[in-house]
Amino acid sequence: MSKIKGMILGTIMTGLLGGVAYAADSVKIAFIDPLSGPVATTGTNGLAEWKFAAEKLVNEQGGVLGGRKFEIVAFDNKISPKESLIQLQVAIDQGIRFVAQGNSSGVANALTSAIKKHNKRNPDKRVLFLNYSAVDPALTNDKCNFWHFRFDANADIKMDALTDILAKDDGIKNVYIIGQDYSFGKAVAAAAVRNIGKKMPNAKVVGNELHPIGKVKDFTPYARKIMASKADAVITGNWGSDMVGLGKAIIQAGYKGPIFTYYAASNGITKTFGAEGKGVIRLVAEGAINPPASARTSDYINGFEAKYPDHDISQARIANAAEMLAKAIDKAGSTDVIKVAYALEGMEHNSIWGGKVKMRASDHQAIQNVHIQAHTDENITHALDNSAYGLVKENTVVNAAMDSPTTCKMKRP
């Protein structure tokens, strides 16, 4: 038994540890997200965006520290917290000190607490966590730490922006909130109820419910309830097939009002909604691509589409993250993570998507413009999913939730 074990272990471990060759002085960023399995689509898309951002926005601009290039190293975490922690360890062993992750707040939570402990226990191998997509508010509140930076607007900020816009529309009296039954879905619902109560005295929440994540086959019964509630607006944090299923069911049940979503675009979703979703599907996000902010923006998007025709710029903040990291490294004058972290704190950055991004020092939450965008085929410069449809900016909240409170008690080294 032991002999066999030895043989296999020996062969493979040698391969594992010796086989990874890398450019001598590049700055490596570990991309730890799902690249296989049923939810890999956002992972592979994110990887393409990271690679492109590193190439176009950093390396082609001369790199950092006088010529060092960014290198994105992909690690497949299979959307599993356990695998993420293993891959984190592998990345650290390869000398990687910057970790990017975004899919699933559960994984982000596992990573942030593991990195916090790792940095405490291994001061010589500290790691920085660039969270580009996990939007659970807790990550920059109760669970915040010095090593974690979030480049996306969190669920609370997006809801704050969304309700700012909603409050201006007197026609909206009845709001229906529906989401997946897990931390993020609950966070969206709580933020919606809180904000509507505060900002929209004439509106009421006519429905607030959670459904099991990834298990609902047919959303029709939920759609019937929404119809019965006479809702003027629906808010949902659903993503992936739960988003498509819910959206299609609501539309087919005869609903005509707006559905405000967090993630109803790209990865086949835009194409699937197609004509049906026009005039109904809205999306709240940072970084609108239609109309493009500048010629530079357009060039960037066209370049990306030319290189990755199957992917879209669906997570615009990745470009911000790459640029801000490069700036911080240059400012710090080294890749020492403590120095880079201090350089990131409070950094202001002119985003390629227009507007400014500010990394708030108190909780490491990026403050940026948040837009309400509509799913449509009119005025589209940059379509999604190789279809005629895309997202067009309707409203913008500048520096959304700039002064929002945080419960974070940042401990700095």
Partner: protein, 318 residues
């Protein structure tokens, strides 16, 4: 009241769709003793094939061609895979289909990528058939109901009126005897597996536009199909029908009414703890039935099995 009627119809659609999957699975299980874990994967294949075909020719040819292709794939799997594993016994067979499910999902992603497919209803059925109290009922769902009914009737006819049907019926009741009747059992097995998977494929073709065509579509349905035939009773077509409808309605009504568990608990005499945020059961009090709708079938199955191991309509226990 109108909503109740709408829910009945919605549940019927879900139930009948489930039945199309379960009928094939039941046939396969009854004949061959194989719990085909990859059954939902054939459903997935059906949807993807039909999507691909629809991009060239539109929806309708896919409705015929895709199930046939899936059936052929199923027959090939039986001929070159399952038949080989058969000699080792039922557990390896089951594990074979388990691995097959994994493999099919990967192969589909290899060819089609990981995105959601924009597989849509045919344009001709893209209208509202009728409206009940403001609730639109799409024509496509009417079409789904008729298709599922047609499948059921055809199956019923074949099983009760044809020679092949007699053999299959005999196999349902006396699985060991048919071997001795001099029929070409391997051929019958291959045929049944092919037809069973083709039915799953047909379900995929029809459900793909409504329930979505994406890499996880098999996993979403995966185990629920077993749950249904286990509740209905292994080897019983009628049981599969009744259980499918039962689960269709169970899920529809569970999702439709926001019954809070806490209210139920209070109505049967429990008192709500004052400081609810601290208790270990705090989540139980705010739970609604619609939150747990999709797991109710599993609860039902465990209860049924604990009380009546052969299922509602099953005659034999395996």
């Amino acid at each position: 009241m109108e909503l109740f009627f709408v829910n009945i119809l919605d549940g019927l659609v879900t139930g009948l769709l489930l039945f199309m999957l379960c009928s094939g699975l039941t046939l396969i299980f009854s004949m061959m003793g194989v719990l085909n874990f990859a059954h939902a994967s054939f459903y997935m294949l059906g949807a993807y094939f039909a999507y691909k075909i629809s991009t060239y020719t539109g929806f309708w040819p896919g409705l015929v061609i895709a199930p046939v292709l899936v059936g052929i794939a199923g027959a090939l799997v039986e001929r070159y895979g399952l038949r080989r594993v058969h000699q080792y016994g039922h557990v390896p067979e089951l594990i074979f289909t388990f691995g097959l499910a994994l493999l099919i999902e990967e192969v589909v992603q290899f060819f089609f990528g990981k995105n959601q497919m924009a597989y849509d209803e045919p344009h001709i059925l893209d209208f509202t058939a009728f409206t009940i109290a403001g609730n639109a009922f799409p024509a496509y769902k009417v079409f789904m109901i008729f298709m599922a009914m047609a499948v059921f009737l055809v199956l019923l006819y074949i099983l009760t009126r044809t020679r092949v049907g007699m053999i299959i019926q005999a196999a349902l009741s006396y699985p060991n005897t048919v071997q001795n009747l001099g029929h070409n059992v391997p051929l019958v097995f291959m045929g049944v597996f092919g037809v069973g998977t083709a039915l799953a494929g047909l379900a995929g073709v029809i459900a793909g536009p409504v329930l979505g065509t994406f890499p996880g579509m098999a996993a979403v349905l995966g185990s629920i199909v077993f749950v249904t035939i286990v509740i209905g009773g292994l080897g019983s077509l009628w049981g599969a029908l009744v259980a499918s409808l039962l689960i269709g309605w169970l899920q529809t009504f569970a999702a439709s009414y926001n019954i809070v568990i806490g209210d139920v608990l209070m109505s049967i005499g429990f008192s709500k703890p004052v400081n609810i945020d601290d208790g270990a059961f705090r989540d139980l009090w705010t739970l609604t039935v619609s939150q747990i709708g999709p797991i109710l079938p599993f609860l039902l199955m465990v209860l049924v099995l604990a009380i009546r191991p052969q299922g509602l309509f099953g005659k034999r226990e395996t």
